[in-house]
Subunit: 357 residues, 2 copies
Amino acid sequence: MAERIIRIAIDAMGGDNAPKVLVEGAVEAVNAYDDVEIVLVGERTSVSSCLDAELGKSDASGGRGDGSERVWFDNRISLVHADETIGMDESPARAIRRKKNASVVVANRLCKSGKVSAVIAAGSTGAAMASSLLQMGRLKGVQRPAIMSVFPSKKNTICVIDVGANVDCKSEHLYQFGVMASIYMKQVLGYEKPRVGLLSIGEERKKGNELTIEAYGLFEKSDLNFIGNIEGRDVFEGIADVVVCDGFVGNVLLKFGESMFGFVTYMLKRHINGRPLRKTAALMMKPVFRDIRKDMSPENYGGAPLLGVDGISIICHGNSSARAVRNAVKVARQLVIEGVNEKIKNELSHASIKTNE
Amino acid sequence: MAERIIRIAIDAMGGDNAPKVLVEGAVEAVNAYDDVEIVLVGERTSVSSCLDAELGKSDASGGRGDGSERVWFDNRISLVHADETIGMDESPARAIRRKKNASVVVANRLCKSGKVSAVIAAGSTGAAMASSLLQMGRLKGVQRPAIMSVFPSKKNTICVIDVGANVDCKSEHLYQFGVMASIYMKQVLGYEKPRVGLLSIGEERKKGNELTIEAYGLFEKSDLNFIGNIEGRDVFEGIADVVVCDGFVGNVLLKFGESMFGFVTYMLKRHINGRPLRKTAALMMKPVFRDIRKDMSPENYGGAPLLGVDGISIICHGNSSARAVRNAVKVARQLVIEGVNEKIKNELSHASIKTNE
C-alpha cells in the first residue's frame, strides 16, 4: 500500500526570525517524517536562498526550475511565492482582507483548496487565526473554533482552551471547547480519558460566574470525563488534563503564566544581589535553571492548534525556533493521521443532540 | 491634644492556627502601635488562656474580672465572647445568617455598632466578605465592594482589584474598583499618582471583551491616572500600580499566581533529581530561595481589604502568621487614620456625576 503523503504549508515570513528558522524547521521536519512534504509560503528570493543554504549543509538534492516551481530536498520542500507580510502592529481582520497575497493568507488558501492539509504560522496570532477562520471556515457542528495551548504541570502535560480566540462566550461554546480538546489530548497525546476541568473560582458547582455555572450543567450531562470546577491554583497541579475557560480568562492566564519565568529570574537576581557566595551558588544552579527553562518551553509542544476550523491550523510563537517549527509539523501530522477533525465533527453532531434534550 | 484611639476587632477563631496566631498578632500590634486597641472576638476560654500565656511572656499587666470583661496588656486588649465558628466548607451566605454568634459575625457587628473601626478576619474569605457586606453595608456611592490584593512586581508593590467579590461585573463597577484602589494605593502605600491598568488581552482600546471595552471608555474620561489596557504578562512587570479586572478573572489570576512558587519548587526538585552537584548547589541557594519566599509572602501586605463597605474589613489568608495579623492591623490603622472611606465616598459621588455626563 502506498504511504499517504501529508502536505503542510508553513508561512515562511512570520515570526521574529523569518524566514530562516521556518526553513530550518521545514528541513528538520522532512528529515524526521518520511511522509511529510512542506510547502513554504513566502518571498521567493529570501526563502529560496535560505533553502539553498540548508541544502549546502545536507546531501539532499535541490530540484530545477525557476521561482515557485523549484523544489528542494528530493522534491519534498517546495515554495509558493507570496510577497506581502502582515506586521504585528496591524489589525489582523483588516490586514487579511486587504493583503490578499500575504504569506499567511496564501498558506491558508492552499489548505482551503486542498493543496495542503495543514498550515503552520508563527507571525501575528490574530492574523493567523483570522485567516484560518475566514479561509478554512468552521467545521460542521462547531460554533466557535478555539485556540488550545499546552502547558506543563506537576503531573503531566495539560492544555488550556480557549486562550484567546473568543472573548465573550456562551456555555455551549465552553462545552464544545472541552470536546475538541479532549479529542486532541486523546488522539495526539494519547490520554485515554482526559480529565476535563472547568476553570472557576471554587470547587462547588454553584461557584463561578453565570457562564461557568451554566456550562457546569452541560459538562455534567456530557460523555466527557468531567471532574468539575478547578481553580487557578489547580492548573499547575495537573488535576485536569483539559482546562476549559473563555478566551479572555485563558489569554490572561497564558500570558501571566508565560511571564512567570522572567519574574522568577528577576527575583533570583534581586536576592543574589552581587553577593559572592550566592553568585557562586547561582552559577552552580545554572544547569538546573537551563533544564527547567527547556522543560517549560512552549517549543516542546509545537504551537497552539486552532481547533474547530475545517482544516488544520497551528499557531506558533513569534519567537519560535526551528525545533518549535518541527514540533508544530509533528502535531499537524498527527492531527491529519488521527483524523481529529472528523472525530470532532462526529462528536459534536452526536453531542449537540444530547445537550438539546 | 489627646491621641485618637483606634479600636480594631480581630476574629480570633478563624484560620488554620486560631486562636493562637491571632492572639500573638494582637499582642505584636499593641506593642507596635500606641494608638491601637484590639478586641479579640472568640471562644472565651481558649482565647483568654492564649492571652494569659502571652502575658506571661511580657511585663504588661492583665486586668481583672471574669470572661468578656477581662482585659489584658494594660487594658489594650479585650475579649468579646462568641462561641460559634464558620467552617471553610460551609456556605458563607447561609452560615452568617444561621450563626448569629459566629466570631466573624460578632466582630462585624461590633464595627456596625461603632464599637470598633475595623475588622480583621482570617477564616473563610466568603464568610468574612458576606458578613462585612451584610453588617457594614456599602459606602454611599459604591455599587459593589471589591477585594483588593497586593502583589510584588519587578518595579514596585502593585494591587489587583477585584480578586473575588464580584464575578459578573458591569463597566461602572470596574471603574469604581479603579477609584477605590487608587485611593488605597495613595493613602496607604504613598503612591502619588497610582497608574491604573485595565487587565485585558491586548493593549489597543478595542482589544478585550465587551466589559473591558466599555470600561475603557469610562476610565479614559476619568481623573484617574489611566494607562490603558495591560495584559497578563504585564502584571509582574509592574507597569500598572492598580490592575483592574472583574472578580472572576482576578480570583483565577490570584490563585494561579499563588501556586507559582510551589510549581517552581517542584520544577527545581525535579531537575535536581538527587544529583549530588545539583543538590549541593540547591543547598547553597537556600538562603536566596528563603529570601524570595519572604519577599513574596502575602504576610508582608497585611491581608486583602474589602474596599467599599461602610467600615473597614481586612481579609487575611487562612494560614496567616502573627506577623500577617500585625500587618493587617497596620493596614487597618492606616485606613482609619487616612480616612480612606471618606475619600472613596467623596470621589465616587463626585466622579459618578462626571461619568454620567
